[in-house]
Amino acid sequence: IFGGQDAPDNTIPWQVLLSVSGKRAGGMVIGDRWVMTAAHNIVDKGAVVSNDTLQIFMGLNEVTALKKSPLFAASIHVHPEYNNPSYVDYNNDIALIKLEDTLTFNSSVMPVCLPEPGATYDTGVMGLVSGFGLTIENNRQILTNQLKYVYLPVVDQQTCRDSITSARRRSNNIPDLTTNMFCAGLPEGGKDSCQGDSGSPFTLTKDGRHWAAGIVSWGVDCGRKGTYGVYTRVANYLNWIQKTMQEN
């Protein structure tokens, strides 16, 4: 998380830290046996990683403490239309992990709500992004040991698309922005999610409840002016999520 702050204990209790073959990623608790994350975290070279390479942590904000009590996956369910062999197509970047054991919720572990059917992503509405990904201190990117968060506004879809088009002038192979994605961030940069935050939640709030609006997916650089973070639009996957959980 760029431009964010350390999250106080129990403020983002749905936050999950994933370790996939030693690589750090994020996720969120959505049920007592389910974690939602970005598909690209658990698909390597077109194949879903094996369960035993995946460790799941939750309940604490400090990575070193958190890693003492891993949980394990019973099964991994990647969205069937996720297809990103060249890491340039993040459409349908969503996956579900079923846990081996049932969670008992408390102040440190709690599910985030799923979107209501027809939930809206209004431009400018502030969302909360969190994660254990890269942060920046004194112009240096560092790996955080502490869960961080930052509030970011939802960005107009066209504005985001324009920023991506502009970025393509400088760099090749920038992924497409699809309707299954939305952007969040500041035009002036400085606040953003970053590597290691993938799969972490972007939540919006309604009636005092946090709901999972987005999953940290991809972006061009981190916190850079004129670029935005791109998130999987969770509301588009309600049916798949419910179906997957019911069938499993």
Partner: protein
């Protein structure tokens, strides 16, 4: 030689002289043994008899024997001056057999050819009852009443007497034996007149267990008693009353004992008179009543039915518990209870208890708990409340989480729901919030 077989008894038959209706040949000796069943005699009727007539039937004759004794000897013809013709009247044998012997000599009168005889016989029932008393001193055939029957007879006795085992003589009847009907009438021999002396009669009234006998002596009661300073003594005549498990009592005098409730299903009465004195006797009606069982009492939190003022032998009672209570007996629950008033006046089994039912421990609630709001030990009408571990779980919907122990031993909510509620996770509401004060 072997003995000829006894002739088979016939009920009727016919006998004819040889060659009849042709003249019989000379030098004949022919015999017929007639027999009818025991108890019958033979009536022999001559339809024709024409045998050479002679004085005393010297030459030709038909002789009738009964047990080797010649009873009749016939010859001649119906209108002959000589001989002995039976005429039109039948002859009757003393017993159930007759022997006829027909004989002719060597000479037959040439002028007249005699045809012989033809006779029919039939069995005639003997009226044994009309027979005179045998002279051997054995007394009459029947000491009191003789009833003739076909081939036999029966003896019978006047009222108050019984036929002895010899089936011939009668003995004074005490009306004894066992009286096992639910009600009846007994009286001493000859009552209301005095019976012969030296009566010893026993009467047993025995009815089914579960019934008690009540005696009701009529007012006309007379058993000779002897006066003594201690009161009338039943020295020579008495009626002894014995009730099971009690000392016998002797009754006598002129005062009727009236009603005696025996509380027993068996009563023995022994009536005794000696060779002297006179007692006119007694009579009584007896009735029976069902044994009474004690009132069953009441059952707390239950009901005993039917509710009667008294309970008698074979009466059933049932116990039902109030709603929310169960029948318990000897520490075990029973589905239903009934008991019957037994013949010994006791209930077949004691009353059960009605114990309050309980619904057992309520099902645990995952991520929640249960608390008692009222009641005791999960008993009937106890109220529990399910709660979820808030703020992390909440009950599904707004269902009423109070459950009451119902009469069917199920915890049931006010909405008739039996299943325990479900605790659903609360999402998106952390207990700690990110507070940003800096602007």
């Amino acid at each position: 030689c072997s003995p000829l077989p006894e002739p088979e008894p016939q009920m009727y038959g016919e006998v004819q002289s040889p060659l009849y209706p042709q003249p019989y040949p000379p030098n004949l000796q022919e015999q017929w043994d007639l027999a009818v069943p025991e108890g019958y005699q033979i009536r022999l009727t001559f339809t024709h008899l024409d045998i050479e007539a002679s004085a005393n039937c010297y030459y030709d004759s038909l002789t009738v024997f009964y047990k080797e004794k010649a009873l009749w000897k016939f010859c001649g013809s119906e209108n002959s001056a000589d001989g002995h013709h039976p005429g039109n009247q039948p002859i009757l044998s003393p017993g159930n057999s007759l022997t006829l012997i027909f004989q002719s000599d060597s000479n037959n009168p040439e002028a007249h050819q005699n045809l012989g005889f033809s006779a029919q016989y039939q069995a005639i029932d003997i009226d044994e009852c009309s027979a005179p008393e045998p002279g051997d001193g054995s007394g009459p055939l029947c000491s009191q009443i003789c009833l003739n029957t076909l081939g036999s007879y029966l003896c019978s006795c006047h009222h108050g007497y019984e036929l002895r085992s010899d089936q011939r003589t009668c003995v004074l009847s005490c009306g004894g034996g066992i009286f096992d009907e639910p009600e009846g009438h007994l009286f001493s021999p000859g009552y209301p007149n005095h019976p012969p002396h030296a009566v010893s009669c026993q009467y047993v009234i025995s009815v089914q267990e579960g019934f008690t006998i009540t005696l009701n002596f009529t007012d006309n009661f007379h058993i000779e008693s002897m006066d003594s300073p201690e009161g009338p003594q039943c020295l020579h005549h008495w009626l002894e009353l014995t009730v099971r498990d009690e000392q016998p009592i002797k009754l006598c005098g002129r005062t009727s004992p009236g009603v005696i409730v025996t509380n027993s299903n068996m009563v023995k009465l022994e009536y005794h008179t000696d060779d002297e004195g006179q007692s006119n006797g007694w009579s009584l009606d007896y009735s029976t009543h069902r044994v009474k069982c004690p009132l069953p009492g009441s059952v707390a939190k239950g009901r005993v039915t039917p509710s009667l003022s008294e309970y008698l032998f074979r009466d059933y009672i049932y116990v039902r518990c109030d709603q929310g209570y169960k029948l318990m007996m000897n520490g075990r629950e029973i589905e239903s209870f009934s008991t019957i008033c037994q013949s010994n006046g006791k209930w077949h089994r004691p009353l059960p208890e009605c114990r309050i039912i309980d619904c057992g421990e309520p099902d645990p609630l995952l991520n929640g708990g249960v608390a008692f709001l009222s009641g005791f030990q999960n008993q009937y009408l106890s109220v529990i409340q399910y709660r979820c571990n808030e703020p992390f779980y909440s009950l599904l919907g707004d269902a009423n989480v109070n459950f009451t122990c119902d009469a069917d031993r199920k915890w049931r909510s006010t909405h008739e729901v039996i299943d325990s509620p479900l605790c659903l996770p609360v999402c998106g509401q952390p207990t700690n919030h990110i507070n940003v004060y800096q602007r």
